[in-house]
Symmetry: C2
């Protein structure tokens, strides 16, 4: 009978937490000395678990099972946000370590191959998803030569500093890697609000990020009557109200949009703003709805400009990220394990956050499992999850992993 | 017959413009080397006009007529905004110079006393209205010991650098200074919009300046459903809409309010803002209306907080500036001169901007005269006024000055 060891799991998570510990949180930025210490510790633990482990040429820790494939790859990341929590990323990697050990300790599953990865820089300290992108064969050398962290350090220099510049890069083995699983904390409050313990991810949402600039006329705030003002800030505020209304018409319960930043120019008490910038992001699990929101936004911009007093234009946008579906068969394995171990305590849900799984899913069938975040908080020192949820999540992931590997091996699920 | 010399007036304005000329605009910050050069040039011109001239211990250039009082004091400022126009302040000072010359050249008025001032730092490079405040006897030594410019230079050090630290300070002479006149560009677009050439100022508006802080909950912009968000930025936007509606109910055509700056915290695409700051200013010529707007704002804040999701509080405010009435008899002299020289081309109006006149009016009957600003623009390099308007404004100011001095001397107006 497959059994994880809850104490060993929690101890390893607790030990990883000590690298870069800052109050209850963690500061362990990609390729920093403390991140490299954590990577070397992790490599040691994976080696102890019997995996053949390396830290590759971009910094990814990769533990390869000594068993023949087909293999299930389990991964996430051990580096953190600038003011990160202890579980964001770390949970999935240590789940992989524990699942590899648990499978090896069980007579029926000891021949299964689980490879474990801690992908470098999911959070984008230098270049987001660097490890998973490199792994699936995307070209990353340009990013390595040009990306810098907030301190201005070049990624290529950071890799040299870490002694990795000459190390080989781990690559996806198409014949071996037949499935990818990424367990993660939810980073939102839905499971908690619904009283559930496990989330089975259906889709990683798509994202649009863009900047709108309103151009009016800078003027003296005392001498310019309201009637003749062309106040770019007031126009921005009015635009947001219309946009909210338009997006509400299109949204379902999971659609989100955020104005995260507003800059008024010149930004003083006494000057009617002549220009105003608005930073807008919206996310949805449906590619069609994202396109409908883009269309609605374009119509709003057109109408606004037709009215004339203040103009608005999109001045910048990130490349669109389309929603990524999780593999249906893999979802079913997680759902089956969840129902077996925690009947009625799980639900299907989209992931509102980005994950390495969205990179890998384009090359290998992929799935994700969520455990609840207390108060829905993440990317914050106080991010946390109840021990019982951490343990249950690992039990569900382990059982799903075994089922997936049985299925890959041509066996019927237990 | 009193006659100004248009060429001399425009030449002096043009020469003053060369000090700190930057494109069409001027950068001549208080007590900077170029500002001191301009002050020394001005002192020379005032001396040439027969006035006894000094640069006083705070930097004010003061030309005192050698005639006995009662005297009309004419003043404004020759220092500028960081990116200033060539007429803001300069116009009133050079009008004073030209009027002193014109009166001296006319047999009937040569015994009249016109004193001319360029008050230091109306614009607040170090400490707003420093010159006029010092002149009327307000305590300015604390400001001199503590105020700094944007480069961090202490006002007391700047005065030392300018060689003024030991110079005596010019003070109001109650027995001599019986009226104050400050000609100025309008800095708004009303005269132009109405096709008028002269504004007779009724009131310098009162000002309220305050900062509101909205506190919500910072959260992940991807994983936090709209329904449970406590978005401080969205709350701020909603608040502005309500405030606009409330203020519109109270406003007349001259009431103005401006949200000049908005800061969302932390200010990134991916984070629901947890806090938001709004910088609000409102101005009106009526003290009662300003109080009504304050009351309405307090009620909005109370109602907003009663709804609960995001709180709002006033976190900072400047001391209120109450409206300052211009002297009715002096207004009538300007109106009379305007009607004589430009029949039907003048109107009464409040000043939406602040001026040294509001400091001096508490001690001496004061008046202001406006000429049109092209496009209503000021505090900008492109600030400008048609030569014809500059000349007409000086003619009206000169005739009003003569009428005021005749009246002060107990004579009936011409």
């Amino acid at each position: 009978m497959l059994k994880i060891d809850p104490d060993r799991l929690l101890n390893d998570l607790g030990h990883l937490r000590t690298f870069g510990a800052t109050g209850p949180g963690v500061v362990r930025l990609s390729l920093s000395p403390v991140d490299m210490d954590a990577r070397r510790w992790l490599a040691g633990r994976l080696n102890d678990a019997g995996l053949s482990t390396t830290i590759d040429g971009v910094g990814t820790v990769f533990g390869r099972s000594r068993n023949a494939g087909p293999a299930l790859l389990i991964g996430s990341h051990t580096d953190t946000q600038p003011t990160g929590g202890w579980l964001d990323g770390a949970l999935g990697v240590i789940y992989g370590l524990e699942i590899a050990r648990a499978l090896a300790e069980c007579e029926e599953t000891r021949h299964f191959a689980v490879d474990v990865a801690s992908w470098i820089d999911e959070e984008g300290t230098f270049s987001g998803f660097l490890g998973s992108r490199s792994f699936v064969g995307e070209r990353v050398d340009e990013a390595i030569g040009s990306a810098r962290n907030r301190e201005g350090v070049l990624l290529s220099d950071a890799l040299k500093q870490a002694g990795l510049a000459e190390a080989p890069r781990v690559r996806l083995e198409k014949a071996r890697h037949k499935a990818y699983m990424e367990p993660h904390i939810e980073q939102g409050g839905r499971l908690e609000a619904h009283g559930k313990s496990i989330g089975v991810v259906t889709t990683i949402v798509g994202i649009r990020e863009l900047k709108l600039r309103f151009i009016g006329q800078r003027n003296h705030a005392g001498t310019t009557p309201m009637s003749i003002r062309r106040d770019a800030g007031a126009a921005l505020v009015a635009f947001i109200a219309r946009m909210d209304e338009a997006f509400r018409q299109l949204a379902d319960a999971d659609t989100v949009w955020t104005v995260g930043r507003i800059d008024l120019d010149p930004g003083s008490f006494s000057v009617v703003p002549g220009a105003a910038d608005m930073y807008l992001q919206f996310r949805d699990a449906s590619a069609g709805r994202l396109r409908a929101m883009e269309t609605a936004l374009a119509a709003l911009i057109r109408d606004f400009n037709a009215e004339g007093k203040v103009s608005v234009a999109m001045t910048d946008s990130e490349p669109p990220e389309e929603p990524v579906m999780m593999d249906a068969a893999l979802q079913a394995h997680i759902a089956g394990a969840a129902e077996a171990l925690a009947p009625g305590q799980w639900e299907r849900m989209p992931s509102g956050a980005s994950h390495d799984a969205q990179v890998i899913a384009h090359h290998v069938p992929a799935c994700m499992l969520f455990v609840p975040s207390i108060g829905g908080v993440s990317h914050d020192f106080i991010e946390d999850t109840a021990d019982a949820h951490i343990v249950l999540g690992c039990e569900v992931a382990a059982q799903a992993a075994a089922d997936i590997l049985r299925h890959l091996a041509g066996q019927s699920p237990r």
